[in-house]
């Protein structure tokens, strides 16, 4: 239906025109005609301005970042439970009263509500549909693991009463064995008893061993564990001055050099890296094209200074998962590290430029990625683009003003 241009604005129209950009259903509302009326009407014009001014003021009241937790604030887990609808109805009003006036708990409740939102957005649904976890094979394997784990747990829970009843039942049996021992076949029984004493535990141990072997060959190792181990290795022996995802601060120890270093041995590597390599080998055996495992291998290779092979692995992973910012971040590390090795100056500058391109891609996707920002400041420094380096350092220090990385950033920014 067409709107009468002379009709005054309805309350709904005031709302639609003042809440521009908000998620309100606007139905067949004719914005242009309503706006045109407000511009010429001496009643609706001032009223709409008043609505808009109020809307702007209310927008300014928003607190989107959680402030410090206060002593009277309930534990943070409270908001997750509340947003999931698990808080008893008698406790909910008091908690909501607190959250509606607390600059720590209000934003926490909002975050929890967003996480618990039962509606899956189209973007989320698309992402979920492309996960390997939706595949029937993956779900079947997972279900088998779950069935075994739950059966094991149920058996464990039953084990205590069962063991107690077995002990009671065994008593008369032991007595009868003693009677048998006095008979003519006592020696045979003794030998049998002796044999079972070691054969049973040995058989059980062998069965467990075989089961573990079969399990370790068939089960997919945890990729996040492999990445954690690599990050721990980087924390322990940080090979270059820039930041690596997941790794803590540690002094730079440029001892690597890959196969080109004659004194280099894999036994010098942190034990976490050796453990990660085993997981990666098993992961790649199961999923040779999986971008996650390719990335983990590249990270382990970078630790050894094998930059070229890391670059190839990361480029391959990016062909499959081009939107993954963490792959670009690692690719930047590979180029940076490649440049830092003994390359001619021209090749060095090219690698730094490629590292910069990758970091720019990361920061386009994730503007608040502090690791990428830190690393980009380092690259700008190497490229003698000191003004841009300074801008990045200032921004980094604003976002991460305290701690060891912050001190490292200050030291690097003053070089």
């Amino acid at each position: 239906m067409t709107r009468d241009p002379q009709a005054h604005l309805s309350p709904e129209e005031f709302r639609f025109l003042s809440e521009e950009g908000e998620s309100v259903s606007q139905g067949d509302f004719d914005r242009e005609v309503a706006e045109a009326h407000a511009e010429t009407c001496s009643l609706c014009g001032p009223r709409l301005r008043s609505h808009r001014s109020l809307q702007a003021n209310l927008g300014n009241l928003a607190v989107l970042v959680a402030s410090e937790q206060k002593s009277e604030c309930p534990p943070e887990q409270t908001w997750v439970t509340l947003a999931a609808g698990l808080t008893p109805i008698t406790e909910a009003p008091g908690l909501l009263e607190h959250a509606s006036h607390c600059d720590h708990c209000g934003p926490m409740l909002r975050a929890a509500s967003e996480i618990m939102n039962p509606e899956v957005s189209d973007a989320e649904r698309d992402l979920i549909r492309n996960l390997p976890t939706v595949e029937t094979t993956w779900q079947r394997v997972m279900a088998e693991k779950m069935a075994k784990a739950s059966a094991k747990q149920v058996r464990r829970e039953h084990a205590i009463p069962a063991r107690l009843s077995t002990t009671t039942e065994q008593m008369p049996s032991r007595a009868s064995t003693e009677q048998v021992a006095t008979s003519a076949s006592a020696r045979t029984s003794w030998l049998f008893a002796k044999w079972t004493r070691w054969a049973v535990p040995l058989g059980a141990a062998a069965a467990i061993g075989v089961a573990m072997l079969v399990y370790s060959k068939n089960s997919t190792p945890s990729l996040s564990k492999a990445n954690d181990l690599i990050a721990q290795a980087y924390t322990e022996q940080r090979p270059i001055e820039w930041r690596f995802p997941g790794a803590g601060y540690g002094p730079v120890r440029q001892q690597r050099g890959g196969n080109s270093n004659p004194s280099y041995s894999q036994m010098d590597e942190p034990p976490q890296l050796l453990e990660a390599r085993i997981l990666i080998a098993r992961g790649l055996a199961h999923h040779p094209q999986d971008p996650g495992w390719l990335q983990a291998k590249a990270r382990a290779d970078l630790f050894d200074g094998q930059c070229q092979s890391a670059i190839k692995e990361l480029q391959k992973a990016l062909q499959i998962r081009f939107e993954d910012a963490s792959l670009d971040l690692d690719l930047a590390t590979a180029y940076f590290q490649n440049a830092s090795q003994d390359a001619p100056q021209e090749a060095q500058q090219k690698d730094y430029a490629l590292a910069l391109l990758s970091l720019n891609r990361v920061l386009d996707k994730e503007p608040n990625n502090l690791i990428a920002l830190f690393n980009r400041a380092v690259v700008y420094g190497r490229l003698h683009r000191h003004d841009e380096a300074k801008t990045d350092w200032l921004r980094y220090l604003k976002e991460d003003p305290v701690g060891e990385w912050s001190r490292a950033a200050r030291a690097l920014s003053e070089q």
Partner: protein
């Protein structure tokens, strides 16, 4: 198979077919919470999402009796809530552990607000703006308290501040326990309160 039958089959019989049905039925719910929580914690890694989904399933089956204990046929929604809480805890624990390790401070755990990323405020406020907003907030609160009847005041003020100060959507507020309103109901409360404010503030020259 009803939800009740499915949970019993999983928890009591350790049946692989039942667990497969469980994974199939709850996959979108669990994956949705994992995706949203990892994003909220600042990560877009698809591989991590995949790993955390697997971790969640393993966590659920590690305590099959808990499944039964959490399920009440009269309130199936509570079971969905339980699964969501387990899932978000798996993800938050992962990021808390990461953060603690990264910091290397010896503290065993980070708090949840340290791992969640919050959107930036619209603009940085200087002291003068801050004072102005404090005054405005008190005035708004005063007007609303004076205009609302005692019966609805407590609920309506909660809705107002959760929406305008802390950014909860009308749908999120409607889902909160004890609010007892539909999304339309929450929107209607907000509209009414805004109307009151618009009139009063215009009269006092603030709006």
């Amino acid at each position: 198979m009803s939800l009740d039958e499915l949970i019993r089959a999983c928890a009591q019989e350790g049946d692989a077919a039942a667990w497969e049905e469980f994974v199939h039925r709850f996959h979108e719910l669990i994956a949705g919470v994992v995706v949203r929580t990892t994003r909220r914690c600042g990560s877009n890694s698809v591989t991590l999402v995949q790993d955390l989904i697997q971790e969640t399933y393993l966590k659920i089956c590690a305590d099959p009796r808990r499944l039964l204990a959490e399920f009440t046929p009269q309130y199936p929604e509570a079971f969905y809530g339980y699964l969501k809480v387990v899932t978000s805890n798996v993800v938050l624990d992962y990021f808390r552990g990461q953060r603690s390790r990264k910091r290397g401070s010896g503290r065993s755990e980070s708090s949840i607000d340290e791992v969640l990323t919050f959107s930036e405020p619209a603009a940085t406020r200087d002291t003068e703006q801050g004072v102005h907003l404090d005054i405005l907030m008190k005035e708004v609160d005063g007007i609303l308290r004076a205009s609302l009847d005692a019966e609805s005041q407590v609920r309506d003020l909660k809705i107002f501040w959760l929406y305008y100060r802390y950014g909860l959507s009308a749908a999120a507020i409607a889902r909160l326990p004890s609010v007892s309103l539909t999304v339309k109901g929450v929107e209607s409360v907000l509209q009414r309160l805004k109307q009151v404010l618009c009139e009063r503030l215009a009269r006092s020259g603030v709006g």
